[in-house]
Amino acid sequence: MQFLQQLINGISWGSIYALIALGYTMVYGVLRLINFAHGDIYMLGAMFGYYVAVFLGVAEHASGVRVLSVVLISMLGCGLIGVGIERFCYRPLRKAPRLAALMTAVGVSLLLENGGQLIFGADPKFFPPLIHTREIFRFHEIVLNNIQLMIFAVSLLLMFLLHWIVMKTRMGKAMRAVSFSHDAAGLVGIPVNRVISFTFFLGSLLAAAAGILVSLSNPKVEPLMGIMPGLKAFVAAVLGGIGNMMGAMIGGLIMGISEVLVSGYISSTYRDAFAFFILIFILLYKPSGLLGKTGPEKL
């Protein structure tokens, strides 16, 4: 019984990791770069959500339209910031050694974290309850609440949308072409830079959505909240096979579930350590990840 409850919690966290991991994996696909600032975009999503919600007074008068605007405005804001980061921090280093871009990514991450503390303040903010928690399902002691269900449903919806974009639209095909080779893509007339911007935009949208979804159940929002989920989502992306979208989703779910099981059955002290244990293990024994190389769709 307890196991099922843990599974529900794990899937809920797992979908969040999956959403963030998709951004890592897509950017890696088109640039072969680990965008370490990606976890901080997740933080910005929650932060923007907080400010927009306060500005619109959603806490006092919650309505469907307002909640939706909170979500969409913060997603859009993060999307643009993601595009800006690529344009001004990574693009100038496109031809530089990869280590330079990687160090820059770490630098951008630190900038967002410390800049966030400077601008938003280091103290946690209370994210207004956009949606009130209520049970929608109870069986003995297993409880599923509406927010858990929503996290899962919205994540699933976003992943389907993303999958559709990548597989069916011309822009999505172009993303896959760019991930194959920048030169070959340019030679057939694909505007490579625009495709890369688009990839950052999509990835940042998903991270922002994850930030807001998490804030619905964990309303404490602060500038360093992206570090741990960002790292874990990175582990999820590596676990699934970096560059592989299906892998990122599966990796995210495995991370979420195993983490909740570890804190439930062993000790919550080992929760974070376990994530890095997975990383070390996968790097030692299957560095290409679960779906790496032979996966159904490489991006």
């Binding site: 080779s181 340019g186 057939v188």
Partner: protein
């Protein structure tokens, strides 16, 4: 149609092209022959905007309109009407044949015209139609070459740059590919063909250039060059 003047390209300290001048006129097949490392691929990459030249000019004219290709992004050059079939084919291995072809028309908006181009591509290479849902990575070398050519044609180019289309193909396929090149040229496409197979290239082309360590050492009508003693000795194995 394409006019290159005194083009210099270098990789770090190594000069790959040391002042190359070359011209392709409308309706021509021009071939560029030369040994490995002579700079043939570098030249095509520079025309397509993948490499920035140190100095020199690349002019392309279409309908009396003259444009410099220097400092243009690869996709802008494609938009002007200059496409390339790159060395090693470079088909998007992780995409299906249909998706590869669709991306070839990335810059075109008119769905009906794109459809027409697609039909034409299948007419040219019926084999691709049979494999349309297959991943390009699973095609044979010859089929990949066909796909690379068809993909480039999907952009409706006026000038096609081809880098070693015969590389690694069985002789019968090479013949087929060269037949196709002749056919698309007769339909009005100008072609700049880079080849190691000088024998075939000189048979096909109207004019030819011989590139040696970054310099043009010979040029002239292809037929004359095929008779030239030096060319015979160095490139035709006679």
């Amino acid at each position: 149609m394409l006019k290159i003047n005194n083009l210099i390209v270098s990789y770090g300290n190594i000069k790959a092209l040391q002042g190359v001048s070359l011209e392709v006129k409308e309706g021509e097949i021009v071939t560029l022959i030369g040994a490995n490392g002579a700079g043939k691929t570098t030249l095509l990459k520079t025309i397509s905007g993948l490499i920035a030249p140190v100095s020199g000019t690349i002019y392309y004219s279409k309908n009396e309109k003259n444009s410099s290709l220097n400092h243009m992004a690869p996709h802008e050059i494609v938009r002007l009407g200059v496409s390339q079939v790159p060395e090693g084919r470079m088909v998007f291995a992780n995409l299906s044949v249909a998706e590869n072809l669709d991306l070839g028309a990335f810059l075109r908006r008119d769905a009906r015209e794109v459809r027409e181009s697609l039909d034409k591509a299948f007419q040219l290479f019926p084999r691709l139609k049979e494999r349309v849902t297959q991943n390009a990575g699973t095609l044979s070398g010859g089929e990949q070459q066909m796909l690379a050519i068809a993909r480039a044609l999907m952009a409706k180019p006026k000038l096609l740059l081809m880098d070693e289309p015969s590389l690694g193909l069985a002789p019968i396929l090479v013949k087929e590919i060269f037949e196709t090149i002749r056919k698309i040229n007769q339909e009005g496409l100008s072609i700049l063909l880079v080849e190691q197979n000088a024998h075939l290239a000189l048979q096909l082309a109207h004019r030819a250039y011989v590139l040696e360590t970054g310099k043009i050492v010979l040029e002239g009508p292809a037929r004359e060059l095929a008779m030239n003693e030096e060319v015979k000795k160095a490139y035709l194995g006679a």
